[in-house]
Amino acid sequence: MFYREAGQFKTSYEADQSLFPIRQDRIGIAVLLLIAFVLIPLTANDFFLTSIMIPFLVFSLAAIGLNVLTGFAGQLSLGSGAFMGVGAYAAYKLTSIFPDVNVIFLVLVSGFFSAAIGAVFGLPSLRIKGLYLAVTTLAAQFFLEWCFIRIPWLYNYNASGAIEIPKRDMFGITVSGAEATPLARYFVVLAITVVIALLVANVLRGRIGRSWMMIRDMDIAAELMGIRPLQTKLLAFGVSSYICGVAGAMMVFFWLNAAEPSSYSITLSFQILFMVILGGLGSLGGSFMGAAFIWILPVFLKFIPGTLGIDIPAETVEHLTFMIVGALIIFFLIVEPHGFARLWQIGKQKLRVWPFPY
């Protein structure tokens, strides 16, 4: 009843090709942005910001990055964690070489390093497909991880082998390092995520996005229609790695403050992949939903026993969380293999015809 598009007509191709052609969607997105930019900053406590919202946004961005590659261009990657790491180490090196340059600028620049490395590891994708490609990206994952440990230059020869983020100010406000308030970091992360998500959405609805989807859906037909497979795939690898790189840099600069090579391990790659699959391959909104599910659900689960006043040892909660998350992953794959994005669409469809069943 509330979600009906009847009576909304488009009179131009411009209107028809906008990101949110339906009015209710436009209102919905405006409300979400309002919540993100106004309501949450006004009401949330530090824990909610630092342990829920900031990681959620960082992961959302990383999931968008992987979704560009896997969901839109159809190239399976298990190396997104390492590409995030490249971004993080690049940003760290940049800020130690240019301490006075705006840190957000450096974070955005660091993505280019990640993009270059991503493109290099994307080269075999011309000949290798599917699970075989997954092995290539695994090689990237393990090799890069090894580099993070073995090239001390990357971490400025710190005895600890880790990178630690110094304090950096922007317009008189501390945005990175331990002194940065959760709110300042939240705004930085939110702004970067929203802007990149918007730009990616633009790319995806135009020629380049279409060429990725062509490669994904039927690579031979795409090639016979004039799409150069190597360039197109490499561009997808580059863009995807850029986004992952920025997400990785944000992860250490605005969330964790310090990172070891193991922060960017295969586990992270899997986490991101889960977000993409559960959220929905080929859906930007799904990336956010997937990130919310994979990151926030375990945090929720941790608190449930405490809320109900049940005294369960911490490790049992952890075991149960693992089991529940694993079971839910299987459950959702069975219920809707196309992810939350599809569930959301089904939900919208139900709303559209409500109160009638069909």
Partner: protein, 274 residues
């Protein structure tokens, strides 16, 4: 097939085919896969503006021939001359930029995309705006998008598929998918359009529609068409000239009536009812 015969859109050949300019020549082409010969020493030409049919029983090498023209397979022997120039070994995507478009035997649409996007994908080569403008969207990228959208809408109107514009092609019935595939190839505004069994699996009515579209394309846009088809009625009605393959060899070449009368062709098709 009489429905088409009596149609007013019967091909009215402007000039005798033989006098027209060659668009594509295939000379002594042979192709084999690890010892298995798919095509043996085949030569024929496609003239500008004609509808050229390639026929033959299953496994005769028809699709392989299209793949060779397309640049998807590389013949071991022989030359291909495109618009007067001998073509070197090239990548499939280069064929597209030279103006060769095609449809596929088994529908090869981009299943995850809508009809509109599928046809828009045919415009890929004609769109130039770089990554930066794409990212910004507002401005040049959008203008370009809308300019091409207008072209695509013309094709949608032409093929009468307005109602399924926003439908993901995976959900369309087979006949419509074939039509969308034709639209996608048309969006490339090709010089040569290769159609691989455009009417396979269609009912009579759909075949009639498709035949009409093919003739319209040939006449209105002047597009040269090479098509593979099993339905002899359609082939005889549509095409200007027919080349017949059997076991990878050419067994006949000429106007439909001539070919139909050829003993070699009758032998090759013996037992196949048409």
């Amino acid at each position: 097939m009489n429905a088409i015969m009596t149609s007013e859109e019967m091909p009215q050949v402007a000039a005798p085919t033989a006098e027209r300019e060659d668009l594509l020549r295939v000379d002594n082409v042979s192709l084999s896969f690890g010892g298995v010969k798919a095509i043996t020493d085949i030569s024929f030409d496609i003239k500008k503006g004609e509808i050229r049919a390639i026929i033959g029983p299953n496994g005769a090498g028809k699709t392989s021939m299209l793949n060779v023209i397309n640049g998807f397979y590389h013949p071991q022997v022989g030359t291909i001359t495109w618009q007067g120039q001998v073509r070197r070994k090239m990548k499939p995507y280069e064929a597209a930029s030279q103006g060769i478009a095609r449809t596929f035997q088994n529908v090869a649409l981009f299943r995850g995309m809508t009809t509109l996007d599928n046809i828009m994908s045919g415009r890929s080569l004609k769109m130039r705006k770089n990554f930066f403008w794409q990212m910004m969207w507002y401005g040049p990228a959008r203008e370009e998008e809308i300019e091409h959208r207008k072209k695509v809408e013309e094709i949608i109107d032409f093929l009468e598929i307005q109602a399924i514009r926003k439908t993901p092609v995976g959900r369309l019935p087979y006949g419509l998918q074939k039509r969308v595939e034709l639209g996608r190839a048309l969006a490339m505004e090709p010089d040569l359009l290769l159609l691989d069994e455009p009417m396979a699996g269609m009912n009579l009515e759909e075949k009639a529609d498709m035949s009409r579209f093919i003739l319209d394309v040939n006449q209105e846009f002047g597009t040269t068409i090479a098509l593979i088809e099993h339905d002899m009625g359609v082939v005889m009605d549509l095409s200007d000239r027919v080349v017949v393959l059997d076991y990878g060899k050419k067994i006949a070449d000429g106007p439909p009536e001539e070919v139909q009368a050829s003993q070699a062709v009758i032998d090759a098709y013996l037992g196949v009812s048409h």
